[in-house]
């Protein structure tokens, strides 16, 4: 019974995923097709060719066919895993994305974890001591950081830690003159610290605010009043009645933040010139590398979908109340 339900759940999710991906693929393709970018000119990069050669190229790329045919070809290639060749890197798009995404995933995963844990702790501290200086400090910090552009925060951190204190190198994934495959682990790690710090500091604001507000609400509820009258107090009270209630929605919220995480990574990678997917996306956009940009859009959509799916699963499988209601069915 239960297994069947899970299978049905995942089947439903899979169908949704496929429909969404096709929609994203078609949508982004149409948008880029409507743009004034001419793929042949972007490929030639201003090289002088005769009209006949240009037509051969158009034939080869298939740019002079009607839009539905183009979309059909694009979807067919997409299903076979063929995303074309990047114009900047002169390599298959799928390889470029794979290489850059791994670099970014390390950055995003660490900052995701850090921002979640730090944000939750700060939120609990603020909520427990409502109205105290710690609460006010957390609130002011969260408001300010949510209104500050994340790339500017990155620049400030870069100024303080790299330029004034000189603790960390200014940007680049590996030292100048060293191939990325030859870099030692430490060289890699020191360059990861500042982008991670920026992303975590920016990302902890929503989770801290959420946790704080929820905890304040829980602590003013009737059952906490009852627990207080039984003599529970201090940290035990928060641990037994507060954290259990808040942790799950907080985790779900953190999973739902994958989209903002990606957006933050794009900007932060640009500031620290970290060779990840975000910097590649910006380069592809600026230099009219249509195949690479389309590929990145699709992979980022998959990334966001996975985040939403994990949020759903965490709700579905961890929350005891949902399980209970299933047994009652």
């Amino acid at each position: 019974m239960n297994k069947q339900k899970i299978a049905k759940y995942f089947g439903f999710k899979l169908v949704r995923f496929i429909i969404l991906m096709i929609a994203v693929a078609i949508f982004s393709f149409i948008l880029l097709d409507l743009s004034p970018i001419d793929p042949v000119s972007a490929y030639l990069k201003g090289a002088a060719v005769s009209e006949a050669q240009r037509q051969i190229l158009q034939q080869y790329f298939g740019t002079n066919v009607p839009l539905p045919t183009k979309i059909y070809h694009w979807l067919l290639d997409l299903i076979q895993g063929n995303l074309g060749t990047s114009l900047i890197y002169r390599a298959p798009v799928i390889d470029v994305i794979f290489e850059k995404f791994t670099a970014s995933v390390v950055l995003m995963a660490i900052s995701w974890l850090l921002s979640g844990i730090l944000g939750f702790i700060l939120g609990v501290l603020a909520g427990k001591n409502k109205g105290s200086w710690i609460d006010k400090a957390v609130k002011v910090y969260c408001y300010a950081i949510q209104s500050a552009p994340s790339f500017w925060v990155g620049m400030l951190i870069l100024m303080v830690f790299s330029v004034y204190l000189g603790w960390f190198p200014i940007g680049f994934g590996v030292p100048i003159g060293v191939r990325s495959t030859d870099a030692t682990f430490m060289e890699w790690a020191t360059r990861l610290v500042l982008p991670t710090l920026t992303l975590s500091l920016v990302g902890l604001a929503p989770i801290a605010m959420y946790t704080r507000n929820e905890l304040v609400q829980v602590l003013s509820s009737d059952y906490v009043l009852f627990a207080k009258s039984r003599g529970e107090k201090g940290w035990d009270l928060v641990k037994n009645h507060g954290i259990r209630n808040i942790l799950l929605p907080a985790i779900t919220l953190q999973f739902l933040s994958f989209s903002e995480l990606f957006g933050g990574a794009v900007l932060v990678e640009q500031v620290f010139s970290y060779p990840g997917i975000g910097q590649t996306a910006v380069a592809a956009g600026l230099q009219n590398d249509v195949p690479l940009f389309l590929g990145i859009v699709i992979f980022s959509a998959i990334f966001v979908f996975v985040g939403n799916l994990l949020a759903d699963i965490s709700y579905y499988f961890i929350d005891p109340r949902i399980k209970e209601s299933e047994f009652n069915d």
Partner: protein
């Protein structure tokens, strides 16, 4: 919560003791005044004189935010950039509002329309926002126009989601059924019976849209899309100051960023206070 509010009321406020409503209105008025003055002065600042004799100066009384490598006054550039940002924010919010109102009302027609609107919202939500803006601005061929459209065509999702759920609830009301039975058209019902009920949500949604639009405008120009390097947009100023970070010219990046932060906070403040006034639960305090 209650205790705190009482304490606030007893305290003398500024010149006289005002009630919460007056305070809220005063806060809104001052914030709007500041933003309008930034916008207007930003509009009139054209051709900031460059003076190589006073290049790269620290902030002083003469140059509040210091000067850049061409000796231009950073305060003037920042104000001009903020004016540009506010303008982009205005246009983008207008475009986004139109889209979300149309989609929200369209979702009231029938089940298929509702599913269609939900699908579009999902589609726009499934691509990371910054990539979506880049995508749309590329579609419009870049430039100022591309940036405005990119920011404007992608910020409607939260408001549309709110409107859709509101409309869903309103549609079950009896007078809607009555109007349908009387033979009124769907468009008539949407405009006469549903739109007036969601106006307050629309107003709050629009004001809360502003800060997002301005931040994304700064981000997208920072990345190098759209505006040419000589245009004093905040994003362009910040990306230019990136080159001077290692030289220690901190004021080039610090002050424009702080000003942007303050403008965004002002918009947030206006949004919160307007919401306080429009929400019937808090309006009577």
């Amino acid at each position: 919560m209650i205790r705190k509010r009482k304490a606030d009321d007893k305290r003398q406020w500024f010149l006289y003791s005002a009630n919460l409503r007056t305070k809220t209105l005063v806060i809104i008025a001052i914030s709007i005044l500041v933003i309008v003055s930034i916008f207007v002065s930003g509009y009139f600042i054209r051709d900031i004189p460059s003076n190589f004799a006073s290049a790269n100066q620290m902030p002083s009384l003469e140059h509040l935010f210091g000067t850049d490598w061409m000796g231009r006054d950073m305060f003037q550039r920042t104000i001009a950039g903020l004016g540009l940002s506010i303008m982009v924010g205005f246009i983008a919010s207008a475009v986004s509002t139109c889209i979300s109102v149309i989609l929200g009302l369209f979702s009231s027609f029938n089940r298929v329309a509702d599913e269609f609107v939900a699908g579009i919202i999902d589609l726009f939500g499934s691509i990371p926002h910054i990539l979506l803006i880049i995508l749309v601005s590329i579609m419009f061929g870049g430039g100022v126009y591309g940036v405005i459209m990119g920011v404007g065509l992608t910020h409607w999702t939260p408001l549309a989601r709110v409107l859709r759920s509101e409309v869903k609830e309103i549609r079950t009301k009896e007078y809607i059924h009555l109007a349908e039975n009387l033979g009124k058209s769907k468009v008539w019902i949407a405009i006469k019976h549903i739109l007036p009920l969601v106006v307050s949500q629309i107003i709050v949604g629009v004001i809360l849209m502003f800060p997002h639009a301005i931040m994304h405008e700064a981000a997208i120009t920072f990345l190098g899309f759209g505006l040419p390097p000589h245009e004093p947009a905040i994003g362009v100023i910040l990306s230019e100051s990136m080159h001077y970070l290692s030289s220690g010219y901190w004021w080039l990046a610090f002050y424009p960023g702080v000003s942007l932060l303050l403008v965004v906070l002002l918009f947030d403040l206006i949004g919160e206070n307007v919401e306080k006034l429009l929400n019937p639960e808090t309006a009577q305090e």
